[in-house]
Symmetry: C2
Subunit: 319 residues, 2 copies
Amino acid sequence: MRTYLDCIPCFFKQALEAVRITKVGENLQKKVLDELAKAVSKFPLTSSPPEMGKIIYGLVRKITQQQDPYAEIKKRSNKLALGIYSKLKRKVSHAQDRLLMAVELAIAGNIIDYGVNSFSHRKEEAGVKVGGSLDIEAELTRILNQESKLVKRENERIFNYSQFKVELKNANHILYLADNAGETVFDRILLEEIKRVEQDKKITYAVRGGPIINDALLEDAYECGIDQLAEVISSGSDAPGTILSLCSQEFLKIYKKADMIISKGQGNFEAMSHLSRPVFFLFMAKCPVVAKDVSTICKLPIDKGCKVGDIILLYHGGK
Amino acid sequence: MRTYLDCIPCFFKQALEAVRITKVGENLQKKVLDELAKAVSKFPLTSSPPEMGKIIYGLVRKITQQQDPYAEIKKRSNKLALGIYSKLKRKVSHAQDRLLMAVELAIAGNIIDYGVNSFSHRKEEAGVKVGGSLDIEAELTRILNQESKLVKRENERIFNYSQFKVELKNANHILYLADNAGETVFDRILLEEIKRVEQDKKITYAVRGGPIINDALLEDAYECGIDQLAEVISSGSDAPGTILSLCSQEFLKIYKKADMIISKGQGNFEAMSHLSRPVFFLFMAKCPVVAKDVSTICKLPIDKGCKVGDIILLYHGGK
């Protein structure tokens, strides 16, 4: 996906949010925004938003001298998601269509990111310490309640489950692109379900190559037990979306070899929606720009278009 | 009010909204954002947001070569507000406390601005032409329904009506600072009510000195019949808030002489909240930054603080 002008105000919002997580003073916060202002005017709109994401979080790291400001948030997300692992498993084992439930939970897990962000906004406004465990618990409960509605999803164009089942059956090597820490536990639920039905599939689970926002790293994949189910690798890039030109040769080899790609999160969608590979994008639309882009891709009429908060399983059928 | 870092993403959002009203292509839209990026890094946070507003809309004018992109919106706002003038008058004449109702309507009229903005967002998302008359009608109806709830307002700190009555009685010369076109009709309702009770008061109604967003100009005041009730002048400045250092000598003379100032709109609050003059700020809090600033000024506890959407009648008692 290209960068739209509407993304520009959002870049500044994201930068401010990230630099505030580091708890530095207002002068350094302003410095990040000033440097971002310089970067924005040179940034081509043909690039995808995660390319700017990489620049933003690079600035935050450089200016605050903090390499991984989201480290604590990521640890807490993993811990809390692991805490409801058995609950998630029960959901799947009691479901009429176990795979569908596992897919929906994997997408619902993507809301953790959204939750973390909107919590920090809301709580900052209320002057409360950001990211208390109680709120993430509440958010997870909300996810569990929400997914039951998803079963009734009728819009095949943005939730292409039947195609997903077909491709899953035919695939030999699945490349699974991770998104956030904590969400990794929800990914594990889906991977376990895939492995239960299709024991012989080779699965590679790719995380980011370095700290970026609350995106999962190798340690998060191990912590959540992904290595018991898949080969865990890094993309070799610390962009908040899989930008191929920045990925390692090791990753690209697997990317080309895999015959099914499961891509989690909006960042990976933004970075890869133009590529010609058989990708399933599993994510929640978190902003109107992406929702509109999905509507355009799916040729949806305006009144039935994708909306912010929609749960998406979008098939990109290139070879 | 100083500029907070949270205002910076919002500056870009406002700039994008304004330049899109002009209907120029994406290249010129991007140029406005790029120029704004340069201006932002030089902008001192001690300045008030309307000072940046002046820069933003100056850039839009310079780059698009359109002097008054909101001209049509302003005309339509006046027309629609005049269309419900009799309805508003009936509201006042049937009210138990006529002045209170007129004050509440004058503040409610400030929502027109909010309406125009949020319409354009919502409608753009849906791909519909911005600012259809039907929507503004709906917004006005919403205002008329909303004001009935305001009567029960209990928070004296952000709605200081009793002080307003006292100062109104004692004042000889009232300076009324206008905000948006259309809202001027609601101002007329309040001015008529003041004149009905206090015939001898001298009232000066000040509008902006040049086109800025949808703010009222001399022509809007005349169109809405304000000149029948008050002396109509311009502030001499086209900033979207009364920044004294930019106002004309004529305006400043009246500003110093007036013994009561009624200031409409968030922009005037942002520009004047630090001044030592007896001002009543009548506006709706349209962003969390301003809501928080009001809470701080009023020393409100966090859980009972001012929220976005709150209707405010704030007295600033300096001499």
